[in-house]
Amino acid sequence: MNLALFLEMAAEAAPDRIGLVCDGRRWSYAELLAGARGAARRIVASGCSHVALLDESSEAAVLALFGAALAGVPYCPLNYRLADADLAGLLGRIQPALIVGDVARSTRLCDGNVTLSRADFVAAALAEPPLDEAADGDGIAIQLFTSGTTAAPKAAILRHANLVSYILGTVEFGAAEESDAALVSVPPYHIAGISALLSSIYAQRRIVMLPAFTPEAWLALAASEAVTNAFVVPTMLARIIDALETAPTALPALQAVAYGGGKMPLEVIHKALDRFPATGFTNAYGLTETSSTIALLGPEDHRAAHGASDPAVRARLGSVGKPLPTVELEIRDESGRALPPGEPGEIFVRGDQVSGEYRERSALTDDGWFPTRDAGYLDAEGYLFLSGRADDVIVRGGENLSPGEIEDVLLGHPAIADACAVGVPSVEWGEAVGVALVLRDGHDRPGEAEIRQLVRDRLRSSRVPEAIRFEPALPYNEMGKLLRREVRKLFAA
């Protein structure tokens, strides 16, 4: 089934309803569908094997997503923030491509493609007659390069069937009120940016696009468009909360804020719950390879944890909630054995929305399970807690240590604003714990003995850091993901 059916259904049910607001221009569902059909014809005419987007979010992202789907050509939004050499490498893997966006840069980095500026692509989409017959939707809908925080980017493939299954399983068609509006500020090359478009169109929730995030612009647009729903990454929420401290903005329409894409600092989510007492917060956990969300912590759990005195309930604010009813999830040890609650291991998932497929190979096991390479555990009530990438586990003298566990203890110190634990080479143990810390403004730097004692008091002695260093800030990518490989380099230097 072709995922463009979602846009066709929205246009069939409510052709004149506004589906997208971007840079002041308003698009009805009928206009978006006409544009997607025209884009499809332009894509087919190009003869290209991929449709790439090298641009910020705009109406072109919507037209390219659905146009490519109708044309039966994989849509491949690219990270325009990458350095030239890295981007050239990715472009070389999707030739020949119809590239929409930065014409000068894409032609400089790679020849043999068809390039169109955003304005030219949108104009062509609106001018072309519709493509007569849509592709059957049996193939690849989207190819996304993973962010590659631990290794070179992988070309993850999402089939129409994966994304259709995700949307049908999680969104009720046309469930949004006509006044509902979703503020989309994640970039178009992130899975959350794509699933936000699909979910909103299927729910018929007006998409309000913010191409370049700043907290001030986010707050202004949320207020002027009476935004009801938003998805943010943790760093965005932290900056929004900070901006509100200096310039309070009332957002009475804001019903729901979902977040994901990286670890949310507890301090930030507590502040957000205080700042928006009437808003429901949802933590969504998912991967590119799973078509977005596979587990979520909903609004009621947030409020219960926020107000709880029971430490077990309060700790849930640090969990990613429970698996969706449409996916199976297990924690497994290195031998592949499923583990009981409380025991940490690798997270495995299975379900129709799970692709687990890369251009080069499928990572699925013979019986369809996807090893996420994320480490975590389930608590007694079935709440999922993440403890970093499986590749980030520190192996000290044969014992597996979770960096997240050590970091959580360190972040409990009032003078520590941020913390990252990594494995550092050790003659005695093979690997030992190294921690990079960021001092909180206005505090004195705690001594190494004090830091080690803090960890020793709370965790087993094997977790006590051997190497401790203070940094002005920790390295994050633009989506708020901590770049542990960069922290490891600090210790190696």
């Binding site: 089934m1 072709n2 059916l5 066709e8 259904m9 069939e12 049910a13 059957d136 939707g137 049996d138 069937a161 049908l168 399983g169 999680t170 969104v171 009720e172 068609f173 046309g174 979703a182 959350a192 699933s195 936000a196 979910s199 729910a203 929730r205 729903n229 998805f231 729901a256 979902a258 994901g260 429901g280 949802t282 969504a284 977005s292 969300t293 979520l296 909903g298 609004p299 969706l324 009813p325 449409t326």
Partner: protein, 96 residues
């Protein structure tokens, strides 16, 4: 019949997308559905005219058939004469 196929009612405007299918005859208004619209539409049979709703998923008791309504109409959906029911949506908070 296979998943991804679109079926059209012969008695009303109903169109469905096949999401899952087993063996059996899919009907709307008691008349077998087809890939093409009829030249002259018939009428729904008695007891098979409760109508279809846009965007709802219809399933049989065994879970082998699942049809997504992409255009609503007056007929009722059935497989081998047994009326399909609307699949209960599991309400989830919007996560994206």
């Amino acid at each position: 019949m296979k998943p991804g196929m679109k079926l059209k009612s012969q008695v009303c405007n109903t169109e469905v997308m096949v999401i899952r299918c087993g063996t059996g005859q899919v009907e709307c208004g008691g008349v077998p559905m087809a890939e093409d619209k009829p030249a002259a539409p018939g009428v729904p049979a008695e007891g098979k005219a409760a109508g279809t709703l846009m965007g709802k998923r219809y399933v049989d008791a065994t879970g082998s058939f699942e049809l997504l309504c992409v255009k609503p109409g007056e007929g009722s959906l059935s497989v081998d004469g047994v009326i399909l029911t609307i699949k209960d949506a599991k309400p989830l908070p919007a996560s994206d």
